[in-house]
């Protein structure tokens, strides 16, 4: 029995020793040599295509497509061409350093600020773009990478060898023109994506969508019969649509990734692509009732739908929760069109410097029956309120029409001349008599936007 154990142990040791032999007859190279070889191999693949790589970059599932061409060289630089309009075309054609690391696999890092970093920084770096990618695999001629910085559902990008004609596909002029539609939308604190009215001219139908050129997505909100706001109201009003999609711009076309389909007048309408070819920076209608403010206009056509016009709009469902209630705000949150607080560099500071807040009684009957149920004005530093009445109104979509009366209410006693000052303040802030309400990314907070002077008033319900 004793001998048998030793025989078994001898066999075990022999097996272990023979297991050391490499069947292939060669030893594995040291780690650093293998890493260097893997990096060199990936780099040689990145620099190989004669026309570089084509990338249709979609940073998040909600975003649209950013079209890019990338040309890597052996000296650690990459030329990136893109259709991203920002900083006077900085990202149209840029060369920056890149690096291939070995960490969580082979990582492609764009080392200094470029188009990927610009997208990464959107929304206080919360948009979801990236500039570090982990190499995943080869798919035919393509190279597939995955985002390193996405925590869940990492973005996957596919580099495809570019062809000589790909550089002609950039739609930078279209992208730049569409950005101009954002000039007349609320900008204070957090900018609001503009709304557009897409007029299907041949069908006499309008579609209203929120158009976000920085993230390249569209959220369709309404459709209606007619071309003007009044025509649409007279023809049955706004019919809700709820459809969001990213878009791309290729060869002068605005292409919806998920075509928009809706029914109106018993007809199903699908918008998948619009060719926009005639831009007039000042061709659109004024959004202010009293001034001829200029807005842009794009004309084009869509397959099966005929002529299409795209103009600015402020009609949106993003503020239709602004209904009868009491709203107030610290006085620091009323801004002019340049973003200056009206208490610091504006009419409130000039006429009522000792003001602490702003209040709006919107259709609310209060305990104190002397306070007009439709009125707005100031909360003074001593706690007194001083408001001016406006005629009964309601929110139509997100539009509030204000017509002031000469009735004032002061919770104490107004000084001589104060009534005239409050009249001046309310007339200036609400000149034109129409404001549009928009949600703020925080519960119960809204902003009112006046298209005539671009003043913005934040209000808390």
């Amino acid at each position: 029995m004793f001998k048998l154990r030793y025989i078994a142990l001898t066999i075990l040791v022999s097996n272990l020793l023979t297991a050391c032999n490499d069947d292939s007859g060669s030893t594995l190279a040291p780690v650093n040599e293998r890493v260097d070889a893997a990096i060199a191999e990936l780099r040689s693949e990145l620099v190989a295509p004669a026309e570089g790589w084509r990338l249709e970059y979609q940073p998040t599932p909600d975003a649209g497509i950013f079209f890019m061409l990338l040309e890597f060289d052996n000296e650690g630089e990459v030329r990136i061409q893109s259709d991203v309009v920002a900083n006077e075309g900085e990202f149209f054609n840029q060369t920056i350093p890149y690096r291939i690391d070995n960490s969580l696999g082979l990582e492609l890092v764009f080392e200094t600020f470029g188009v990927f970093h610009h997208l990464f920084e959107l929304d206080q770096a919360g948009f979801g773009a990236e500039f570090e990618f982990i190499f995943q695999r080869r798919e035919g001629e393509n190279l597939v990478f995955q985002s390193k910085s996405d925590i869940s559902t990492p973005t996957v990008i596919t580099l495809e060898p570019a062809s000589s004609g790909d550089a002609n596909l950039f739609s930078r002029e279209l992208a730049g023109n569409l950005e101009q539609f954002g000039d007349l939308s609320p900008q204070a604190l957090v900018s609001v994506a503009p709304s557009q009215q897409v007029i299907l001219e041949d069908l006499d139908v309008s579609v209203f969508w929120v158009f976000d050129p920085s993230k390249r997505n569209i959220t369709a909100e309404f459709a209606g019969n007619g071309r003007t706001r009044q025509e649409i109201i007279d023809n049955g009003g706004f019919r809700l649509i709820d459809h969001s999609t990213g878009y791309s711009m290729i060869n002068g076309n605005l292409v919806l990734q998920e075509p928009l389909t809706f029914v109106i007048n018993r007809r199903e309408i699908t918008i998948g692509q619009i060719t926009l070819n005639d831009f007039e920076p000042n061709g659109g209608p004024s959004l202010c009732a009293i001034n001829a403010e200029t807005t842009p206009k794009y004309d084009g056509f869509a397959q099966n739908l005929g002529s299409v016009s795209v103009v600015n709009s402020l009609i949106s469902s993003r503020g239709n929760d602004f209904q009868e209630n009491v709203y107030q705000i610290n006085i620091d949150f009323l801004f002019d069109g340049d973003g200056n607080a009206l208490i610091d560099d504006g009419i409130i500071g000039d006429l009522f410097p000792n003001t602490g807040g702003f209040v709006m009684f919107y259709g609310v009957e209060l305990v104190n029956e002397d306070i007009p149920i439709y009125s707005l004005g100031l909360i003074l530093d001593d706690g007194e309120i001083y408001v001016r009445e406006f005629e009964e109104t309601s929110t139509e979509g997100n539009l509030i029409t204000l017509s002031f009366t000469d009735t004032f209410f002061h919770s104490d006693t107004a000084a001589v001349g104060d009534e005239d000052k409050l009249r001046q303040i309310t007339d200036e802030i609400f000149s034109g008599g129409e404001v549009y309400a928009f949600d703020f990314p925080q519960d119960d907070v809204f902003r009112l936007f006046n298209p005539c002077n671009e003043y913005e008033i934040f209000l808390v319900r």
Partner: protein
């Protein structure tokens, strides 16, 4: 005493022997493979300039190419634009390095205390909790400049962000190496805030407690660094913190002046400490900096 049987002894002998044989099967691999292989070295004029003027000159590496270990996991940052790096180098040379080189014993002090790594970031640091970090440093080993992409030496706010960060962080090296001045903590003993609550104070409340800023109340070390940074950078320091308001008519005014007295004591203490342990007169550095601003 516990007795081990002969049988067990034989088995114990075999286990180490087998272990040695099994481990001997692995190829001879080095353990010093780099964590981050920098890959292609771009020997640009900029890299050569950095190597000559910062790395070799002061032993200070300038990191402008993005490496994610420079920030904590969860912090979202971007690298700087390539074209901002040289102007940023010129900026820190002029406003941080040169003032030390110009004063007596300043060069020796600077070379002996310079952090090993300077990191440039393009924008601000966005944290997971929605807050934004303006500047950061790591125990004197690394100083991080944020918002380099917005470089504008004519923009007071931008200059303030950069210089207060670097003077503050560089001041930490002094108390880290030589401790705080004697009895420094006793000058405003009850003024320090509990952990994480400094931001509940405003500037005036901090002054009344005897501090140059709310952040200075967070600890004696931060008090030391903030006082140095404000003294070096703030052109109104003398008027704001060293000179009492005259003809005080209310209690707040009296309290502010009492706070100023504490700040005067702190500054004297810090100034003496600098002179004694580094040979540098803090007043000379302030003068050199103010001449450039």
């Amino acid at each position: 005493m516990k007795v081990i049987s002969k049988r067990l002894l034989r088995l114990l002998w075999f286990f180490p022997a087998i272990t040695v044989m099994v481990s001997a099967c692995y190829p001879d691999e080095t353990l010093n493979a780099p964590v981050n292989n920098q890959g292609v070295q771009l020997d640009s004029d900029l890299d050569i300039f950095i190597e000559e003027n910062f790395t070799k000159e002061f032993g200070m590496a300038i990191r402008y190419r993005f490496v994610d270990r420079y920030v904590d996991p969860g912090q979202r940052v971007t690298p700087p634009r390539l074209e901002t790096v040289q102007p940023m180098l010129d900026f820190i040379q002029e406003f941080w390095i040169d003032p030390y080189l110009e004063v007596e014993n300043g060069e020796e002090f600077f070379r002996g205390h310079v952090p090993s790594e300077i990191v440039f970031l393009g924008g601000l640091i966005f944290n997971e909790d929605g807050t934004v970090t303006l500047g950061t440093a790591d125990a004197g080993a690394q100083i991080t400049f944020t918002n380099v992409n917005a470089i504008d030496p004519e923009d007071f706010d931008w200059v303030t962000l950069q210089l207060q960060t670097v003077y503050h962080e560089f001041a930490h090296t002094v108390h880290q190496q030589y401790k705080l001045p004697n009895a420094f903590e006793t000058i405003s003993p009850s003024g320090y805030t509990s952990a994480g609550s400094w931001f509940t104070l405003n500037d005036e409340e901090a002054l009344i407690r005897g501090f140059v800023s709310p952040y200075a109340t967070s600890s004696p070390n931060e008090d030391f660094a903030e006082t140095v940074a404000f003294f070096l950078f703030d052109s109104d320091f003398m008027e704001e913190f060293m000179t009492d308001e005259e003809d005080c008519q209310d209690d707040d005014c009296v309290s502010r002046n009492e706070g100023r007295e504490r700040i005067r004591q702190k500054l004297n203490s810090i100034s003496d400490h600098y002179q004694r342990v580094t040979g540098v007169r803090l007043e000379d550095i302030r003068e050199a900096i103010q001449a450039k601003l």
